[in-house]
């Protein structure tokens, strides 16, 4: 489903500003599903800082670029638990594709590329996180063969 003109690659410093917009969009998207995920007032600035830190840091941050424009990203990291036989798992925490490019397999391509990258690090399992109420994400990941793994419940104090 790869289209000519579509490139999936690691994010670089030149991507920071566009990436910040995508990160902000991702958080606003999740906000739609759960009021507990209401975004902060200064989300613009924080997203920019976050984008900078991620590009400079060691976590996995891949972007989809279409005809030179950033149209999506996936962000993940490696979590370790030495008590487990498979002590390292990959966790994909954020995924976003811009409205104009949806329905063209870009999200799938991003996930597949991320899985590829993680498998090079001796990782056997990859987990994805999304709000429980995000049925769009749930359907998408189930289609890609993911299954329920951990549950996180929330209560107001």
């Amino acid at each position: 489903m790869f289209e000519p003109g579509l490139v999936i690659r690691r994010a670089t410093e030149a991507d920071v500003e566009s990436l910040a917009t995508l990160i902000r969009r991702f958080y606003m998207f999740n906000e739609e599903f759960d009021p507990a995920m209401e975004t902060a007032d200064n989300v613009r600035r924080v997203a920019l800082d976050m984008a900078k830190a991620r590009v400079a840091g060691g976590d996995l941050i891949l972007v989809a670029s279409y005809e030179g424009k950033l149209v999506g990203y996936v962000y993940g990291s490696v979590v370790e638990n030495p008590l487990l036989a498979r002590r390292k798992i990959g966790v994909l925490k954020e995924l976003y594709v811009t409205p104009e490019e949806r329905g063209r397999g870009i999200a799938t391509a991003l996930i597949e590329s991320a899985m590829n990258e993680l498998s090079k690090m001796e990782i056997r399992y990859v987990a994805v996180e999304f709000p429980s109420r995000n049925v769009v994400a749930q359907k998408f990941y189930e289609k890609l063969g993911f299954r329920p793994y951990m549950s996180v419940y929330l209560k107001e104090v």
């Binding site: 969009r25 606003m28 998207f29 739609e32 811009t98 409205p99 104009e100 769009v136």
Partner: protein, 354 residues
């Protein structure tokens, strides 16, 4: 609903009865429609708000094998389109190459966008605005629309905001525009004179909010608009659903149509426009009035023939045959009414002049 049933009969010779019910959820409403389907040749939905009306109509049309109609969508769109066809003709512009602004993304402008696209108007020539501004893929609430309003979302993505910046309002959208169709909130003053003044030469301004148009027609003309239309019967160029639904149902019922498609609406709109054109287009006459009752038979014939052509009719007919049949049915209905009025058995409705 009773008033509508009366208009169905008087203008189209269509027997209609109101059904009120307690189905609240989409699914229960659809089930109700499926259960009563065998009793009727067609169903007219009333009082369903946007955006519920879109999913309800789409689903009902999928499940039922009779025409399902929502006047705020199909009726208004057909009347608007008829008016636009003639307005464009009169000023010598083509819809396909016009810059078209749809202000208000509700029951009538959402389907109008779809119909304009079907007529070959490129998406980038169209700008659609809701109360928050231009529908644009970079709008902050775009993902809210993605999840809750598929129709606005699709328009935002397809038109890409018509080349405007996200956050642009009607003022920016009207700069250089050829056509404005405002179906938003009652005016006056919702559409400002100085914004209309920024439109292109020979601009066309339809302001169809009721009871008061978004801008008074004389204000729009003072600002340079050449043709104006409203939803009101006391101004020229009334965009009136009553010109449409009785005739569309007449034609659809006479061929036992399984559906009323967009193509049938387009056929009805062109027939309405043609009737006005044959009588001579003027800036204050781009669309027939309800008094020109033969136009209903013409529209019915155009709709019936299109249904046959599309394969959605259970009976076949020709234009001439359906025209004559519809003309007789409507004439008889009107004559019965006239007799009842003459005998003073029923009161004469003030808004209908026989």
């Amino acid at each position: 609903m009773e008033g509508k049933a009366l208009l169905f009969k008087f203008l189209g010779g269509v027997d209609a009865i109101p059904i009120v019910h307690r189905a609240r959820s989409l699914e229960s409403f659809l089930t109700l429609l499926e259960w009563i389907e065998p009793s009727f040749g067609g169903i007219n939905l009333e009082d369903v708000e946007s955006p519920k009306c879109f999913i309800l109509l789409e689903e009902a049309q999928k499940r039922l094998k009779i025409p399902v109609w929502h006047d705020d969508q199909q009726g208004t769109v057909t009347a608007v389109l008829a008016g636009l066809i003639n307005a464009a003709k009169l000023v010598g512009k083509s819809l396909k190459s016009s810059r078209i602004v749809l202000f208000g993304a509700g029951a009538s402008n959402i389907p109008l966008y779809r119909i304009l696209r079907k007529l070959g108007v490129p998406a980038e020539n169209i700008v659609v605005l809701d109360s928050k501004g231009v529908l644009h893929p970079d709008r902050d609430d775009i993902d809210r629309l993605f999840l809750s309003h598929a129709w606005k979302y699709r328009i935002a993505v397809e038109t890409r905001g018509g080349g405007l910046k996200p956050g642009a309002g009607l003022e920016e959208a009207l700069r250089g525009a050829d056509i404005l169709v405002a179906a938003s909130t009652p005016g006056p003053g919702v559409v400002r004179k100085e914004w209309v003044a920024q439109m292109s030469r020979d601009a066309i301004v339809f302001a169809i909010a009721n009871p008061i148009p978004e801008i008074w027609p004389w204000e729009a003309r003072e600002a340079g608009a050449r043709i104006t239309a409203t939803g009101r019967s006391d101004f020229p160029n009334q965009i009136n659903n009553s010109l449409v639904f009785p005739a569309v149902f007449r034609g659809a019922l006479d061929v036992a149509a399984k559906a009323v498609t967009d193509e049938m609406l387009i056929a009805a709109a062109f027939e309405l426009a043609k009737h006005a054109e044959e009588r001579g287009l003027r800036e204050d006459y781009i669309i027939p009035t309800m008094e020109e009752w033969e136009v209903y038979a013409k529209e019915a014939a155009a709709v019936a023939v299109k249904a046959v052509e599309l394969g959605v009719a259970r009976r076949t007919t020709t234009y001439k045959e359906e025209f004559e049949r519809a003309l007789t049915i409507i004439r008889v209905a009107r004559e019965k009414w006239a007799k009842l009025w003459e005998a003073e058995l029923i009161a004469r409705p003030p808004e209908v002049v026989a």
